[in-house]
Amino acid sequence: MQTQTRAPVLEFDDVRLTYHTAAGETTAAEHLTFSVGAGEFIAVIGPSGCGKTTLLSLAAGLLAPSAGQVRMHGAPVRCGRGVGYMLQKDELFPWRTVEENIVLPLEIAGQNTPQQRKRALELAEKYGLGGFLKHGPDQLSGGMRQRAALIRTLAARPQLLLLDEPFSALDYQTRLSVCDDVYNIIRAENKTALLVTHDISEAISVADRVLVLTARPARVAAAHALGFGRAVPLERRKDARFARWFDVLWQELNGKAAP
């Protein structure tokens, strides 16, 4: 599991992506270059419709770049290899129990061995889902569901987590605590994560670095190392630097959004 290579976990190298439809073509990203180092938590923000989700699809290998390269540990990304994708809604399958949901990635990858299963369920146990394994997802609260979704994402031991606004479907109260929750689990498991969001404060509260994208075609307009260290989201929100970063990012977003 321990990789000695210095190559970043994820690298976007001068990526262009063009969508083709009958109505025409749209360039969603151009000259998109950045990298994510091992153990880093990166947040990507940008004006709405700038192609944040496209970026995740590229990182997951679900879309192939029209030009340039997306690499994971130095090799071109391949779908289903090493990434865990977490969506806005938990997308737990209602006909499966929490346990069956959590081991789903193992089934897909053909790794549903007793050891792997045990490890995944230990993870669930560790993060307080032990009592709910035999329950249906409908019996869980919104926060617990999202936690189950995260454990499912971690089940196949991905090297990179891709988070697509994973809190935005929750109400504000739940959102703050789930944000803390997810942050703590990702840190505790020493995972590398790439989060896209439209919520500036969310980005500041979890990330080591924030990338600001331009309007379409997306390109990295700015990158900021926040310097909060391992402070948890709720602490960061109380920090004086939080408001300053908010101002900086807000202005960059709005300055770039309306040319």
Binding site: L87, E91, F93, W95, G136
Partner: protein
């Protein structure tokens, strides 16, 4: 929030008087509906019997419940009742099963291949709008006048709607869940197996319900066109020789069978779609 599950007749342990009253009201309302249902049936049959008995309308034309009962008893006595029921039931069930299997299979193929779906789309639309009964003469020539022809008509009537229902269900699969599975590296077969099929289960049961109705239409209509036996045959034959008792008796039995089959599907629904 702490609603106990109703229906199971939860013993009134530790519930407030207010809740007890509510439960009592509910029970009473349920009972009332049951009584009303039954009374309506009795009233209808009673009125029918009465109209026939006082010769307000000639029972030769409208028959009557008592004459129907006599007719059914007579059919049962000479054994032909069960023969005719058996024939129709077999045709209906065979047609139903084949239509469901074929329809689901076709829908799977069409889900799998978008190209095939696009190629076949106009054919399906035309077949769906075509009154299948128009194919009657062709079917008689191809399949003869036995049960095979009737099963074929039944399949024909059910299969298109079954295909369209199931395809609709398969195509309505949550796009985000598909995305999730693809990000895990799932192939098409896995997406089908883990997601598309289980999520289309309610659609499948809905399709079964529709196909039950379609199968009865198919088998009875088929028997109208070609047959030597069956409930549809009895109805047509009774009509031709002006034996309204026979027509009505066969119709009543048909009602009972159709209701029974629907009840079975409803039971299957309760067993299948639990979560």
């Amino acid at each position: 929030m702490k609603n106990k599950t109703d229906g199971a007749g939860v013993p009134a342990a530790a519930c407030s008087p207010e809740h007890a009253l509510y439960l009592k009201k509910r029970r009473r309302e349920g009972l009332l509906v049951q009584i009303a249902r039954f009374s309506l049936l009795v009233a209808l049959f009673g009125a029918w019997e009465l109209v026939a008995a006082v010769k307000l309308v000639d029972p030769f034309i409208i028959s009557s419940p008592s004459r129907i009962a006599v007719q059914i008893a007579a059919l049962a006595a000479d054994g032909s009742l069960f023969y005719h029921i058996g024939v129709t039931l077999w045709e209906t069930l065979a047609g139903f099963a084949i239509a469901v299997a074929l329809g689901t299979g076709t829908a799977l193929l069409l889900w799998w291949s978008e190209r095939l779906r696009r190629v076949l789309e106009p054919y399906i639309v035309v077949l769906n709008s075509l009154p299948k009964i128009a194919l009657g003469p062709v079917i008689i020539i191809w399949f003869g006048t036995g049960s095979a022809a009737i099963v074929f008509i039944t399949v024909l009537i059910g299969v298109i709607i079954a295909t369209m229902q199931m395809l609709g269900g398969f195509l309505a699969t949550d796009k985000n869940k598909i995305l999730l599975l693809r990000s895990m590296g799932a192939n098409k077969r896995q997406i089908l197996q883990k997601l598309v099929l289980p999520s289309a289960l309610p659609q499948f049961v809905g399709m079964l319900k529709i196909c039950v109705g379609m199968a009865w239409i198919g088998s009875i209509m088929g028997e109208y066109i070609v047959s030597k036996a069956g409930l549809g045959y009895l109805i047509v034959y009774g009509g031709q020789v002006f034996k309204l008792d026979l027509v009505m008796a066969a119709t009543v039995i048909l009602c009972a069978l159709a209701a029974g089959m629907y009840a079975l599907v409803a039971l299957a629904e309760r067993l299948l779609v639990r979560r």
